[in-house]
């Protein structure tokens, strides 16, 4: 069986990444969505092993010491990381793995696993991103501007990414994501193994 590949999917707040990923995962038994470990408390409705692996700070430290995390970062006083264990198991089962992580995490993973494919989901335009952030109604105008600035600065580090998917429509974005994942399985490294048999 062919081993699965690892795909990092990043994108600025408001770009519609969760909707795109939700659509991508429909009827795709061959995909595995990586669940992060975190030291923060579960929120209402969040389940251990479904939304996150909820662990203690001590346990998180143990995972770091054992080099059992592909990447980790602190965010507002809590730690978040990607456990290697589940990712490797899925890949060995022939499943492609999706990591929903940000630019810093993408850099860490790329160092450890150079064959990881990194995809950035971008808005069709900055005006459209501003419109989407505003229409959510959850952020103040100032917060919206801060998110926009952050998104633009993220794009400055965009040479970390191998592909850019523009989320002009969910359907198009999913079509492009699926195409990228299939195309990556046609790369010589994968295929020569089959052909030299």
């Amino acid at each position: 069986m062919q081993k699965g590949k690892m795909f990092i999917i990043s994108g600025p707040s408001g770009v519609g990444k969760s909707t795109v990923l939700h659509e991508l995962f429909k009827n795709r038994e061959d995909l595995y969505f990586s669940i992060s470990a975190t030291t923060r408390e579960p929120r209402e409705g969040e389940e251990d092993g479904v939304h996150y692996h909820f662990i203690s700070v001590q346990r998180f430290q143990e995972l770091i010491d054992a080099e059992a995390l592909l990447e980790y970062a602190e965010y507002v006083g809590n730690f978040y990381g990607t456990p290697k264990k589940y990712v490797d198991r899925a890949m060995n089962d022939g499943k492609d793995v999706i990591l929903d992580i940000e630019v810093q995490g993408a850099l860490q993973v790329k160092t450890k696993r150079p064959d990881t494919v990194r995809i950035f989901i971008a808005p069709p335009s900055w005006e459209e991103l501003e419109r989407r952030l505003t229409s959510r109604g959850t952020d103040s105008p100032e917060k919206v501007q801060k998110r926009l600035l952050r998104a633009k600065s993220e794009l400055q580090t965009a040479d970390v990414y191998d592909y850019f998917v523009i989320n002009d429509s969910v359907e198009n974005a999913v079509r492009e994501l699926s195409a990228i994942m299939l195309a990556e399985h046609c790369k010589p490294a994968d295929r020569m193994k089959i052909l030299s048999e």
Copy 2:
């Protein structure tokens, strides 16, 4: 408008490349199939500008001198080459261009146009390629063995190629080809132009 990209599609005799390309081109107004120039005489039913651009040896030499060919080669006493003119026009019109050429031509094009994407259509196995060559009934067993040897030697130069499409079924091969072409349009070089506007 986004400029089209150039794709080289190669594959050994008997792999089913023409069938795959025929299917790929169905309902695809956004694709352009490059027509070669040749110094050989038209065969019965062949039309100038459809199957080939039929030109004189003198004219072919003029095209070489004017650097108007992307690649050219001699085959059994006749010359075959890819005129730049039509390819560039199609790409400027935003169309993706398919060049159906062999390994040597692929090397020449890559030197002149490093951003060309090269795809090799491979058989699912050597046994299957032998079966397909034999079942065509056009070649003697010796000729079939020669074609097989040539196919295997072509695969030795396969690091010239960016992707391998395995033609286990026409449907799968077309799906992979289409995915590769779409994925290539998601590369940073193309997308950053849009996003920096």
